[in-house]
């Protein structure tokens, strides 16, 4: 039997387990790519009514604090070329976005890889380049490699504005706060390629729910949800790796070595979760010369979010996009007011693109 043909069997299993429960089962994924895959493939519409899939703090753009976004925007006002992954371009700060800064004359450049910004700096030695580095441990080793390459090339015109974050401290903060009831966790696949499955080993028994590392195809997600339902029903608080073809227990030794050499741990501000000790990756003192904040004197900024935006509550599973009065009205992918609507992996954008009609239908059926 082909893998995709097993989906109906797993859905039957999910339905059977859900039917035996008289409460609502709440499973959370903590990966933007999972969020998008779930909604794009229409998985929520195939699940029983008493099973909710929540999106946690898994989209790096969405968890980046307003202050960090405003610091990147402050750099973009300087006579530098600000290089960024495309995901960050439209994220609104206190005064516009990188996209609107570019429209007003700032030099903003989208790059595919951190190394592209290094190569641009090498090719144009009279111009200053700043790479806006956001992302979890999947992306951080690429930034580390770019820093090492810039040092090898003795570049004086390249630096990095670093807002990298670590997944595991955020999971601890979210679970320990205990503000959202969770029955199981779908762990991210590609962060786990770097970190290895062992970093999650202690979590299930500590917080009393099962966890499964899953791939990104629709069948992999449905299979993982079915397994989580089984484990939760059997009160088996364990970690299972259902993406073993790429996730090993130890992870990538070479990537972890890059992180250890270039970064040190520091406190970081997260949207929705506040300040989490040791959850940030900041440049080690040996690389101070490449710290854009230090080079250009950009101090920490206390960012102000849109007063009605509920992104912080959405990425901690407290509310769903449809609970936000801005969703789909004042806040849309064309005119986003919060990062969850901007990012292609944001929960609000996923809901808007693939799920809002389903929600409207269900709401209408209740009336």
């Amino acid at each position: 039997m082909r893998l995709a043909e097993k989906i109906p069997l797993w859905l039957d299993l999910i339905a059977a387990v859900a039917e035996r429960r008289d409460d609502t089962v709440r499973l959370m994924e903590v990966c933007g790519t999972h969020t998008m895959s779930i909604f794009r493939s229409g998985i929520p519409s195939l699940l029983p009514d008493n099973l909710k899939l929540l999106s946690g703090p898994g989209c790096p753009v969405c968890v980046t604090s307003q202050g960090d976004i405003d610091r990147i925007l402050a750099v973009a006002q300087l006579p530098v070329v600000t290089c960024s992954y495309g995901d960050m371009l439209r994220v609104p700060g206190q005064d516009g976005s990188l996209e609107s800064a570019r429209a007003k004359g700032s030099d903003v450049c989208v790059v595919y890889s951190a190394l592209d910004s290094v190569r641009m700096a090498q090719a144009q030695p009279t111009r200053e380049f700043v790479f806006a580095a956001v992302g979890f441990e999947t992306t951080a080793p690429a930034t580390a490699a770019a820093v090492l390459e810039a040092r090898r090339l003795k570049l004086r015109n390249w630096s990095v504005m670093c807002s990298h974050k670590r997944v595991v401290p955020a999971l601890h903060a979210l679970f320990a706060a205990d503000t959202t009831r969770i029955d199981g966790i779908l762990l991210p696949g590609h962060v786990s390629v770097i970190l290895g499955s062992n970093v999650y080993r202690a979590l299930p028994s500590l917080y009393d729910f099962p966890m499964v590392i899953a791939g990104f195809e629709d069948w992999q997600i449905v299979e993982a949800v079915a397994r989580l339902m089984e484990l939760a029903a059997g009160r088996q608080m364990v970690l299972e790796n259902m993406y073993p073809e790429v996730v090993t227990p130890e992870g990538s030794i070479h990537a972890q070595q890059l992180l250890r050499v270039v970064f040190q741990l520091g406190d970081a501000e997260w949207r929705g979760l506040g300040n989490i000790p040791d959850s940030g990756l900041i440049l080690a003192p040996a690389f101070d010369d490449f710290d854009a904040g230090r080079r250009y004197g950009v101090r920490p900024i206390e960012g102000r979010e849109h007063p009605a935006c509920r992104c912080g509550e959405i990425i901690t599973g407290l509310v769903q996009p449809s609970d936000c009065k801005l969703f789909g009205t004042a806040c849309t992918p064309v005119h986003p007011l919060g990062p969850c609507m901007v990012s292609s992996e944001g929960t609000c954008q996923a809901w808007f693109k693939y799920h809002r009609h389903e929600v409207a239908k269900r709401e209408a059926a209740k009336l």
Binding site: R2, E5, L115, T138, T139, A145
Partner: protein
């Protein structure tokens, strides 16, 4: 942002810079995280970096899925036609 796609390594130099074939697109890749990769290997690519070497088994699983999708699309188009 953590999106990664499989691609086959075409060539790699001593500085671990190389090129991959990603669905017939030739893309530059840095292999610092998989320094033992050799041409012909299947790699998982994220933001211009190879982050993992895929086993033959993983690649077969992916191809199985892609072939399955292709077959379904063909069936659908026949049904519509």
């Amino acid at each position: 942002m953590c999106l990664a796609v499989p691609a086959r390594l075409i060539e790699v130099d001593a500085q671990l810079q190389g090129f991959v074939d990603a669905h017939s697109n030739k893309l530059p890749v840095n292999c610092v995280m998989v320094p033992d990769a050799v041409p012909g290997d299947w790699l998982l690519i994220h933001a211009g970096f190879a982050i993992h070497r895929l086993s033959e088994q993983a690649v077969r699983k992916t191809w199985d899925l892609l072939e399955d999708l292709e077959r379904r699309v063909e069936e659908d188009s026949h049904a519509i036609g």
